[in-house]
């Protein structure tokens, strides 16, 4: 399991390639990439800023990943997450999982993303035409998180 925060732009496909290198015998690779959009519900976004709590954020994300890895018998998980200032078009997050069984890899990536959306100690601020605004978690994400909690492997 690898968890990394970075304040620099990263290339999600390059990260994925490095993650899978030499482990093709796993058979199944699932990945999710979240990208910084240039708008949020029609309002232009110039910049995204993600605040984090150094040390604690990494530890909490690793705990969530470990949880998911155990639950779906899928120990090979990679998380790369941007923090700091992010421009539209850049990758915000990459979650990837390798498994012998594609169902486990799909479940692991999907549920870990659900967790990250609600439980990762990260705080988003969007700067657009109307100025800067801190984002609160969406009811939709909370609901999905609650559902994920009940999902069996």
């Amino acid at each position: 399991m690898q968890v990394r925060l970075t304040s620099q732009p990263f290339d999600p496909q390059r990260e994925e390639a490095a993650f899978v290198a030499g482990r093709a015998q796993m058979g199944a690779l699932v990945s999710f990439v979240g990208l910084c959009r240039d708008n949020n519900e029609g309002v232009a976004v110039r910049q995204l800023h993600i605040d984090h709590y150094a040390g604690f954020t990494e530890k909490e994300i690793a705990r969530l990943a470990q949880d998911v890895a155990a639950r779906f018998a899928c120990p090979d998980i990679l998380v790369v997450h941007r923090v700091g200032d992010i421009a539209p078009g850049e990758a915000i997050v990459l979650v990837a999982a390798l498994s012998h069984h594609r169902a486990n890899a799909f479940d692991a990536v999907r549920v870990l993303m659900d967790y990250l959306k609600t439980d990762a100690p990260l705080w988003k601020k969007e700067t657009g035409a109307k100025g800067a605004q801190w984002i609160e978690p969406r009811a939709e994400d909370r609901a999905r998180r609650a559902e994920a909690e009940g999902k069996s492997p």
């Binding site: 604690f56 959306k117 990762a120 100690p121 705080w123 801190w134 978690p137």
Partner: protein, 83 residues
Amino acid sequence: MVKLVFLGKLRGLAREDAEVALPADVGTLAELKDWIARRDPDLGSAMAATQVQYVVNQCVVRDFSLPIAQNDEIAFLPPMSGG
């Protein structure tokens, strides 16, 4: 001395993260919270208006009667917006 860390929207309202010397009558988390609100009313009302999680030395704390020790790092986390 303790270190105070404010995250997200609280960070902008707080003074710089810094080592602060607490008065002798600030010995628990509850007392710290009140002291911050007296010292910094804007930050105090922002903290009162949202759900703040307390993290002491990187562990989530729910018991506000917890005594504060020298060199503690105490963080104030508003609701997370996730990744």
